[in-house]
Symmetry: C2
Subunit: 195 residues, 2 copies
Amino acid sequence: MARKAGSHAEITGPAIREAALKLFARSGYAAVSMREIAAEVGVQAGALYLYTPDKQTLLFELMRGHLEDLLAAWADIPEAGAPADRLEAFVRFHLGYHLNRPDAVFLAYMELRNLTPENFAVIEGLRRRYEAELEQILIAGHEDGSFRMPDARVTAMAMIAMLAGVHVWYRPDGRLTPDRIERIYVRLARRMVKA
Amino acid sequence: MARKAGSHAEITGPAIREAALKLFARSGYAAVSMREIAAEVGVQAGALYLYTPDKQTLLFELMRGHLEDLLAAWADIPEAGAPADRLEAFVRFHLGYHLNRPDAVFLAYMELRNLTPENFAVIEGLRRRYEAELEQILIAGHEDGSFRMPDARVTAMAMIAMLAGVHVWYRPDGRLTPDRIERIYVRLARRMVKA
DNA sequence: CTGATATCTGAACGCACGTTCATATTAAAG
DNA sequence: CTTTAATATGAACGTGCGTTCAGATATCAG
Protein backbone atom coordinates (compact mmCIF):
# COMPACT_ATOMS: atom_id res chain seq x y z
CA MET A 1 0.00 0.00 0.00
CA ALA A 2 2.84 2.42 0.80
CA ARG A 3 4.40 4.05 -2.22
CA LYS A 4 7.55 6.06 -2.72
CA ALA A 5 7.27 9.82 -2.85
CA GLY A 6 7.50 11.50 -6.22
CA SER A 7 6.51 8.51 -8.27
CA HIS A 8 3.37 7.46 -10.08
CA ALA A 9 1.71 10.83 -10.20
CA GLU A 10 -0.22 9.66 -13.22
CA ILE A 11 -2.04 7.03 -11.21
CA THR A 12 -2.52 8.81 -7.88
CA GLY A 13 -5.45 10.93 -9.07
CA PRO A 14 -7.58 7.97 -10.14
CA ALA A 15 -6.47 6.01 -7.09
CA ILE A 16 -7.78 8.77 -4.86
CA ARG A 17 -11.13 8.78 -6.63
CA GLU A 18 -11.34 5.01 -6.35
CA ALA A 19 -10.54 5.06 -2.65
CA ALA A 20 -12.95 7.90 -1.95
CA LEU A 21 -15.73 6.15 -3.87
CA LYS A 22 -15.23 2.94 -1.92
CA LEU A 23 -15.11 4.65 1.47
CA PHE A 24 -17.93 7.12 0.82
CA ALA A 25 -20.13 4.27 -0.34
CA ARG A 26 -19.28 2.15 2.67
CA SER A 27 -19.58 4.70 5.46
CA GLY A 28 -21.07 7.85 4.01
CA TYR A 29 -19.46 11.12 3.02
CA ALA A 30 -19.64 12.77 6.42
CA ALA A 31 -18.21 9.77 8.24
CA VAL A 32 -15.10 9.45 6.08
CA SER A 33 -12.13 11.70 6.81
CA MET A 34 -9.53 12.90 4.36
CA ARG A 35 -6.99 11.03 6.47
CA GLU A 36 -8.84 7.76 5.91
CA ILE A 37 -8.94 8.31 2.17
CA ALA A 38 -5.22 9.13 2.19
CA ALA A 39 -4.46 5.99 4.19
CA GLU A 40 -6.41 3.87 1.70
CA VAL A 41 -4.30 5.29 -1.11
CA GLY A 42 -1.09 4.94 0.90
CA VAL A 43 -0.30 8.61 1.23
CA GLN A 44 -0.50 11.38 3.81
CA ALA A 45 -3.57 13.60 3.97
CA GLY A 46 -1.81 16.69 2.68
CA ALA A 47 -0.98 14.99 -0.61
CA LEU A 48 -4.65 14.69 -1.53
CA TYR A 49 -4.74 18.44 -2.07
CA LEU A 50 -2.39 18.09 -5.05
CA TYR A 51 -5.34 16.41 -6.80
CA THR A 52 -8.49 17.95 -5.41
CA PRO A 53 -9.21 21.43 -4.06
CA ASP A 54 -11.33 20.05 -1.21
CA LYS A 55 -13.43 17.15 0.02
CA GLN A 56 -16.68 18.53 -1.36
CA THR A 57 -15.27 18.68 -4.88
CA LEU A 58 -14.12 15.09 -4.54
CA LEU A 59 -17.70 14.00 -3.84
CA PHE A 60 -19.11 16.18 -6.57
CA GLU A 61 -16.71 14.93 -9.24
CA LEU A 62 -17.43 11.35 -8.27
CA MET A 63 -21.17 11.84 -8.69
CA ARG A 64 -20.89 13.92 -11.83
CA GLY A 65 -18.54 11.40 -13.42
CA HIS A 66 -20.91 8.55 -12.66
CA LEU A 67 -23.98 10.27 -14.06
CA GLU A 68 -22.20 11.54 -17.16
CA ASP A 69 -20.84 8.07 -17.85
CA LEU A 70 -24.32 6.68 -17.37
CA LEU A 71 -25.89 9.13 -19.80
CA ALA A 72 -23.12 8.61 -22.33
CA ALA A 73 -23.49 4.84 -22.14
CA TRP A 74 -27.24 5.08 -22.67
CA ALA A 75 -26.75 7.47 -25.56
CA ASP A 76 -24.61 4.81 -27.24
CA ILE A 77 -27.54 2.44 -27.41
CA PRO A 78 -29.53 2.80 -30.64
CA GLU A 79 -32.94 4.39 -30.25
CA ALA A 80 -34.63 2.27 -32.86
CA GLY A 81 -37.54 -0.02 -32.10
CA ALA A 82 -41.08 0.04 -30.76
CA PRO A 83 -41.67 1.51 -27.29
CA ALA A 84 -41.96 -1.96 -25.82
CA ASP A 85 -38.52 -2.85 -27.16
CA ARG A 86 -37.06 0.43 -26.00
CA LEU A 87 -38.52 -0.16 -22.55
CA GLU A 88 -36.90 -3.59 -22.41
CA ALA A 89 -33.62 -2.08 -23.56
CA PHE A 90 -33.81 0.59 -20.88
CA VAL A 91 -34.51 -1.88 -18.09
CA ARG A 92 -31.71 -4.17 -19.18
CA PHE A 93 -29.33 -1.28 -19.64
CA HIS A 94 -30.13 0.22 -16.26
CA LEU A 95 -29.72 -3.01 -14.36
CA GLY A 96 -26.65 -4.10 -16.27
CA TYR A 97 -24.97 -0.78 -15.71
CA HIS A 98 -25.90 -0.44 -12.05
CA LEU A 99 -25.25 -3.98 -10.90
CA ASN A 100 -21.64 -3.54 -11.95
CA ARG A 101 -21.19 -0.25 -10.12
CA PRO A 102 -22.84 -0.65 -6.73
CA ASP A 103 -20.65 1.95 -5.04
CA ALA A 104 -21.30 4.69 -7.57
CA VAL A 105 -25.03 3.98 -7.48
CA PHE A 106 -25.08 4.12 -3.72
CA LEU A 107 -23.29 7.44 -3.78
CA ALA A 108 -25.52 8.98 -6.43
CA TYR A 109 -28.67 8.12 -4.52
CA MET A 110 -27.56 8.64 -0.92
CA GLU A 111 -25.21 11.59 -0.84
CA LEU A 112 -27.26 14.24 -2.57
CA ARG A 113 -27.80 15.92 0.78
CA ASN A 114 -24.10 16.45 1.28
CA LEU A 115 -23.65 18.50 -1.87
CA THR A 116 -23.51 22.27 -1.75
CA PRO A 117 -26.61 23.85 -3.35
CA GLU A 118 -24.75 24.70 -6.56
CA ASN A 119 -23.33 21.20 -6.91
CA PHE A 120 -26.69 19.67 -6.03
CA ALA A 121 -28.34 21.59 -8.84
CA VAL A 122 -25.89 20.16 -11.37
CA ILE A 123 -26.29 16.59 -10.16
CA GLU A 124 -30.06 16.87 -9.92
CA GLY A 125 -30.14 18.13 -13.50
CA LEU A 126 -28.21 15.09 -14.72
CA ARG A 127 -30.46 12.77 -12.78
CA ARG A 128 -33.56 14.34 -14.24
CA ARG A 129 -32.13 13.96 -17.73
CA TYR A 130 -31.74 10.25 -17.12
CA GLU A 131 -35.23 9.84 -15.68
CA ALA A 132 -36.63 11.79 -18.61
CA GLU A 133 -35.24 9.14 -20.95
CA LEU A 134 -37.52 6.54 -19.40
CA GLU A 135 -40.43 8.95 -19.25
CA GLN A 136 -40.04 9.63 -22.98
CA ILE A 137 -40.29 5.94 -23.72
CA LEU A 138 -43.46 5.65 -21.67
CA ILE A 139 -44.98 8.70 -23.36
CA ALA A 140 -44.11 7.33 -26.79
CA GLY A 141 -45.84 4.08 -25.89
CA HIS A 142 -48.84 5.95 -24.60
CA GLU A 143 -49.10 8.00 -27.78
CA ASP A 144 -48.92 5.09 -30.18
CA GLY A 145 -51.33 3.07 -28.06
CA SER A 146 -48.97 0.24 -27.20
CA PHE A 147 -48.82 1.20 -23.51
CA ARG A 148 -51.68 1.84 -21.15
CA MET A 149 -50.94 3.32 -17.74
CA PRO A 150 -52.57 5.50 -15.08
CA ASP A 151 -50.14 8.41 -15.30
CA ALA A 152 -46.94 8.51 -17.36
CA ARG A 153 -44.98 10.65 -14.93
CA VAL A 154 -45.91 8.67 -11.84
CA THR A 155 -45.38 5.39 -13.66
CA ALA A 156 -41.93 6.53 -14.72
CA MET A 157 -41.03 7.48 -11.15
CA ALA A 158 -42.43 4.19 -9.84
CA MET A 159 -40.41 2.25 -12.39
CA ILE A 160 -37.19 4.14 -11.66
CA ALA A 161 -37.66 3.51 -7.94
CA MET A 162 -38.33 -0.16 -8.58
CA LEU A 163 -35.16 -0.48 -10.66
CA ALA A 164 -33.02 1.54 -8.28
CA GLY A 165 -34.18 -0.62 -5.40
CA VAL A 166 -32.28 -3.59 -6.74
CA HIS A 167 -29.05 -2.30 -5.27
CA VAL A 168 -30.52 -2.75 -1.78
CA TRP A 169 -30.65 -6.52 -1.96
CA TYR A 170 -28.52 -7.60 -4.94
CA ARG A 171 -25.42 -9.63 -4.10
CA PRO A 172 -23.10 -10.94 -6.82
CA ASP A 173 -23.02 -14.33 -5.11
CA GLY A 174 -26.75 -14.40 -4.41
CA ARG A 175 -29.52 -16.69 -5.59
CA LEU A 176 -30.15 -14.92 -8.89
CA THR A 177 -27.84 -14.15 -11.79
CA PRO A 178 -27.89 -10.66 -13.29
CA ASP A 179 -29.50 -12.03 -16.45
CA ARG A 180 -32.28 -13.70 -14.49
CA ILE A 181 -32.87 -10.49 -12.55
CA GLU A 182 -33.01 -8.51 -15.78
CA ARG A 183 -35.63 -10.84 -17.18
CA ILE A 184 -37.77 -10.57 -14.06
CA TYR A 185 -37.66 -6.79 -14.08
CA VAL A 186 -38.40 -6.60 -17.80
CA ARG A 187 -41.57 -8.59 -17.17
CA LEU A 188 -42.56 -6.43 -14.22
CA ALA A 189 -41.93 -3.22 -16.19
CA ARG A 190 -43.96 -4.49 -19.16
CA ARG A 191 -46.84 -5.35 -16.89
CA MET A 192 -46.84 -1.90 -15.36
CA VAL A 193 -47.62 -0.43 -18.78
CA LYS A 194 -49.66 -3.39 -20.00
CA ALA A 195 -47.28 -3.91 -22.92
CA MET B 1 -38.47 29.61 21.61
CA ALA B 2 -36.59 30.26 24.86
CA ARG B 3 -38.10 28.60 27.88
CA LYS B 4 -37.57 29.06 31.59
CA ALA B 5 -35.39 26.55 33.36
CA GLY B 6 -37.08 23.92 35.49
CA SER B 7 -40.45 23.98 33.78
CA HIS B 8 -42.20 21.70 31.31
CA ALA B 9 -40.08 18.62 31.84
CA GLU B 10 -42.99 16.51 30.70
CA ILE B 11 -42.88 17.97 27.22
CA THR B 12 -39.15 18.40 26.73
CA GLY B 13 -38.49 14.74 25.91
CA PRO B 14 -40.95 14.59 23.01
CA ALA B 15 -39.85 18.04 21.87
CA ILE B 16 -36.29 16.81 21.62
CA ARG B 17 -37.33 13.81 19.55
CA GLU B 18 -39.40 16.02 17.29
CA ALA B 19 -36.53 18.46 16.77
CA ALA B 20 -34.02 15.70 16.17
CA LEU B 21 -36.32 14.00 13.66
CA LYS B 22 -36.80 17.22 11.74
CA LEU B 23 -33.11 18.11 11.67
CA PHE B 24 -31.82 14.59 10.98
CA ALA B 25 -34.27 14.27 8.09
CA ARG B 26 -33.30 17.64 6.67
CA SER B 27 -29.50 17.45 6.92
CA GLY B 28 -28.55 13.93 7.89
CA TYR B 29 -27.51 12.47 11.21
CA ALA B 30 -23.80 13.23 10.88
CA ALA B 31 -24.36 16.82 9.81
CA VAL B 32 -26.57 17.76 12.76
CA SER B 33 -24.91 18.67 16.06
CA MET B 34 -26.35 18.25 19.51
CA ARG B 35 -26.09 22.02 19.85
CA GLU B 36 -28.34 22.49 16.82
CA ILE B 37 -30.93 20.12 18.23
CA ALA B 38 -30.79 21.93 21.56
CA ALA B 39 -31.21 25.31 19.86
CA GLU B 40 -34.27 24.02 18.00
CA VAL B 41 -35.82 22.98 21.31
CA GLY B 42 -34.78 26.22 23.01
CA VAL B 43 -32.36 24.74 25.48
CA GLN B 44 -28.61 24.35 25.98
CA ALA B 45 -26.83 21.26 24.68
CA GLY B 46 -26.12 19.84 28.12
CA ALA B 47 -29.82 19.60 28.92
CA LEU B 48 -30.36 17.04 26.17
CA TYR B 49 -28.49 14.51 28.27
CA LEU B 50 -31.26 14.53 30.85
CA TYR B 51 -33.36 12.79 28.21
CA THR B 52 -31.01 10.70 26.12
CA PRO B 53 -27.75 8.97 26.98
CA ASP B 54 -26.14 9.98 23.68
CA LYS B 55 -26.74 11.05 20.10
CA GLN B 56 -26.67 7.52 18.72
CA THR B 57 -29.48 6.42 21.04
CA LEU B 58 -31.51 9.40 19.91
CA LEU B 59 -31.28 8.23 16.31
CA PHE B 60 -31.95 4.62 17.22
CA GLU B 61 -35.04 5.40 19.30
CA LEU B 62 -36.40 7.57 16.52
CA MET B 63 -36.07 4.77 13.99
CA ARG B 64 -37.29 2.05 16.32
CA GLY B 65 -40.29 4.12 17.32
CA HIS B 66 -41.21 4.72 13.72
CA LEU B 67 -40.96 1.10 12.69
CA GLU B 68 -42.78 -0.20 15.74
CA ASP B 69 -45.58 2.29 15.19
CA LEU B 70 -45.73 1.22 11.56
CA LEU B 71 -45.98 -2.47 12.41
CA ALA B 72 -48.56 -1.81 15.13
CA ALA B 73 -50.69 0.26 12.78
CA TRP B 74 -50.60 -2.47 10.13
CA ALA B 75 -51.44 -5.11 12.72
CA ASP B 76 -54.60 -3.13 13.52
CA ILE B 77 -55.90 -3.64 10.01
CA PRO B 78 -58.04 -6.79 9.68
CA GLU B 79 -56.42 -9.60 7.73
CA ALA B 80 -59.61 -10.78 6.10
CA GLY B 81 -60.12 -10.86 2.34
CA ALA B 82 -58.68 -12.32 -0.81
CA PRO B 83 -55.00 -11.71 -1.61
CA ALA B 84 -55.96 -9.07 -4.15
CA ASP B 85 -57.88 -7.16 -1.50
CA ARG B 86 -55.10 -7.56 1.02
CA LEU B 87 -52.63 -6.27 -1.55
CA GLU B 88 -54.77 -3.20 -2.14
CA ALA B 89 -55.07 -2.68 1.61
CA PHE B 90 -51.30 -2.92 2.01
CA VAL B 91 -50.58 -0.43 -0.75
CA ARG B 92 -53.11 2.04 0.59
CA PHE B 93 -51.90 1.57 4.14
CA HIS B 94 -48.27 1.99 3.22
CA LEU B 95 -48.81 5.15 1.21
CA GLY B 96 -51.28 6.65 3.66
CA TYR B 97 -48.94 6.04 6.56
CA HIS B 98 -45.79 7.23 4.85
CA LEU B 99 -47.11 10.30 3.09
CA ASN B 100 -48.02 11.70 6.50
CA ARG B 101 -44.61 11.04 8.02
CA PRO B 102 -42.05 12.07 5.42
CA ASP B 103 -39.33 12.81 7.97
CA ALA B 104 -39.56 9.45 9.71
CA VAL B 105 -39.56 7.62 6.39
CA PHE B 106 -36.52 9.51 5.23
CA LEU B 107 -34.71 8.65 8.42
CA ALA B 108 -35.63 4.98 8.34
CA TYR B 109 -34.33 4.56 4.80
CA MET B 110 -31.31 6.86 4.80
CA GLU B 111 -29.68 6.62 8.19
CA LEU B 112 -29.21 2.88 8.54
CA ARG B 113 -25.51 3.36 7.96
CA ASN B 114 -25.15 5.60 10.97
CA LEU B 115 -26.41 3.00 13.42
CA THR B 116 -24.01 0.94 15.49
CA PRO B 117 -23.99 -2.72 14.40
CA GLU B 118 -26.17 -3.79 17.34
CA ASN B 119 -28.72 -1.07 16.71
CA PHE B 120 -28.65 -1.77 13.00
CA ALA B 121 -29.52 -5.40 13.60
CA VAL B 122 -32.61 -4.41 15.58
CA ILE B 123 -33.82 -1.92 12.97
CA GLU B 124 -33.09 -4.28 10.10
CA GLY B 125 -35.12 -6.96 11.85
CA LEU B 126 -38.11 -4.66 12.14
CA ARG B 127 -37.79 -3.65 8.52
CA ARG B 128 -37.69 -7.26 7.40
CA ARG B 129 -40.80 -8.02 9.43
CA TYR B 130 -42.63 -5.29 7.57
CA GLU B 131 -41.42 -6.41 4.16
CA ALA B 132 -42.38 -9.97 5.04
CA GLU B 133 -45.98 -8.81 5.47
CA LEU B 134 -46.13 -7.88 1.81
CA GLU B 135 -44.26 -11.00 0.76
CA GLN B 136 -46.80 -13.15 2.61
CA ILE B 137 -49.63 -11.53 0.69
CA LEU B 138 -47.89 -12.22 -2.60
CA ILE B 139 -47.20 -15.82 -1.63
CA ALA B 140 -50.80 -16.33 -0.58
CA GLY B 141 -51.95 -15.02 -3.95
CA HIS B 142 -49.48 -17.26 -5.73
CA GLU B 143 -50.69 -20.30 -3.83
CA ASP B 144 -54.39 -19.76 -4.46
CA GLY B 145 -53.72 -18.95 -8.11
CA SER B 146 -54.99 -15.38 -8.04
CA PHE B 147 -51.51 -13.88 -8.59
CA ARG B 148 -48.99 -14.75 -11.24
CA MET B 149 -45.48 -13.36 -10.95
CA PRO B 150 -41.91 -14.21 -11.92
CA ASP B 151 -40.54 -14.53 -8.37
CA ALA B 152 -42.41 -13.71 -5.18
CA ARG B 153 -39.39 -12.47 -3.27
CA VAL B 154 -38.09 -10.23 -6.04
CA THR B 155 -41.57 -8.97 -6.81
CA ALA B 156 -42.04 -8.08 -3.15
CA MET B 157 -38.76 -6.17 -3.09
CA ALA B 158 -39.60 -4.42 -6.34
CA MET B 159 -42.98 -3.42 -4.99
CA ILE B 160 -41.57 -2.15 -1.70
CA ALA B 161 -39.00 -0.08 -3.58
CA MET B 162 -41.68 1.31 -5.85
CA LEU B 163 -43.82 2.31 -2.88
CA ALA B 164 -40.94 3.72 -0.87
CA GLY B 165 -39.88 5.81 -3.85
CA VAL B 166 -42.95 7.99 -3.53
CA HIS B 167 -41.34 10.00 -0.78
CA VAL B 168 -38.73 11.22 -3.27
CA TRP B 169 -41.17 13.24 -5.33
CA TYR B 170 -44.37 13.58 -3.29
CA ARG B 171 -45.25 17.11 -2.21
CA PRO B 172 -48.43 17.85 -0.22
CA ASP B 173 -49.18 20.78 -2.53
CA GLY B 174 -48.31 18.91 -5.70
CA ARG B 175 -50.37 17.90 -8.72
CA LEU B 176 -51.81 14.73 -7.20
CA THR B 177 -53.84 14.17 -4.05
CA PRO B 178 -52.87 11.29 -1.75
CA ASP B 179 -56.02 9.43 -2.74
CA ARG B 180 -55.24 9.73 -6.44
CA ILE B 181 -51.67 8.53 -5.80
CA GLU B 182 -52.97 5.57 -3.82
CA ARG B 183 -55.25 4.56 -6.67
CA ILE B 184 -52.43 4.76 -9.21
CA TYR B 185 -50.14 2.62 -7.12
CA VAL B 186 -52.87 0.08 -6.40
CA ARG B 187 -53.28 -0.36 -10.15
CA LEU B 188 -49.53 -0.66 -10.70
CA ALA B 189 -49.18 -3.18 -7.88
CA ARG B 190 -52.08 -5.27 -9.18
CA ARG B 191 -50.57 -5.33 -12.65
CA MET B 192 -47.23 -6.53 -11.29
CA VAL B 193 -48.95 -9.68 -10.02
CA LYS B 194 -51.50 -9.86 -12.83
CA ALA B 195 -54.35 -9.66 -10.29
C1' DC C 1 -40.92 30.05 54.25
C1' DT C 2 -37.88 25.99 54.01
C1' DG C 3 -35.86 22.55 52.23
C1' DA C 4 -35.66 18.76 48.68
C1' DT C 5 -35.77 17.59 44.04
C1' DA C 6 -35.96 18.20 39.20
C1' DT C 7 -34.22 20.82 35.60
C1' DC C 8 -31.03 23.74 33.10
C1' DT C 9 -26.87 26.61 32.22
C1' DG C 10 -22.39 27.65 30.66
C1' DA C 11 -17.86 26.55 30.70
C1' DA C 12 -14.74 23.09 29.97
C1' DC C 13 -12.67 18.44 28.40
C1' DG C 14 -10.18 15.92 24.87
C1' DC C 15 -10.46 14.78 20.28
C1' DA C 16 -10.86 14.60 15.30
C1' DC C 17 -11.75 17.27 11.50
C1' DG C 18 -10.43 19.88 6.79
C1' DT C 19 -6.92 22.42 5.27
C1' DT C 20 -2.25 24.78 4.83
C1' DC C 21 2.60 25.09 4.31
C1' DA C 22 7.62 24.93 4.98
C1' DT C 23 10.49 21.38 4.08
C1' DA C 24 12.14 17.04 2.15
C1' DT C 25 12.37 13.71 -1.41
C1' DT C 26 12.10 11.95 -6.03
C1' DA C 27 12.14 11.76 -11.12
C1' DA C 28 13.49 13.57 -15.28
C1' DA C 29 16.13 16.70 -18.36
C1' DG C 30 20.37 18.66 -19.95
C1' DC D 1 26.33 15.22 -11.98
C1' DT D 2 23.49 19.25 -11.56
C1' DT D 3 19.39 21.59 -11.92
C1' DT D 4 14.50 21.99 -11.96
C1' DA D 5 9.94 20.84 -11.34
C1' DA D 6 6.78 17.60 -9.54
C1' DT D 7 5.33 15.22 -5.59
C1' DA D 8 4.93 13.94 -0.78
C1' DT D 9 5.65 14.58 4.19
C1' DG D 10 4.36 15.73 8.82
C1' DA D 11 3.49 19.21 11.89
C1' DA D 12 0.53 22.82 12.78
C1' DC D 13 -3.73 25.90 12.46
C1' DG D 14 -8.32 26.99 13.94
C1' DT D 15 -12.76 25.04 14.53
C1' DG D 16 -16.53 22.42 16.02
C1' DC D 17 -17.77 18.11 17.84
C1' DG D 18 -20.05 14.87 21.73
C1' DT D 19 -20.09 14.77 26.29
C1' DT D 20 -19.47 16.02 31.35
C1' DC D 21 -20.32 18.51 35.50
C1' DA D 22 -20.30 22.03 39.18
C1' DG D 23 -23.23 25.39 40.17
C1' DA D 24 -27.54 28.13 39.37
C1' DT D 25 -32.47 28.20 39.09
C1' DA D 26 -37.13 26.70 39.24
C1' DT D 27 -40.96 23.81 41.18
C1' DC D 28 -43.45 22.02 44.75
C1' DA D 29 -44.51 19.44 49.10
C1' DG D 30 -44.92 20.20 53.90
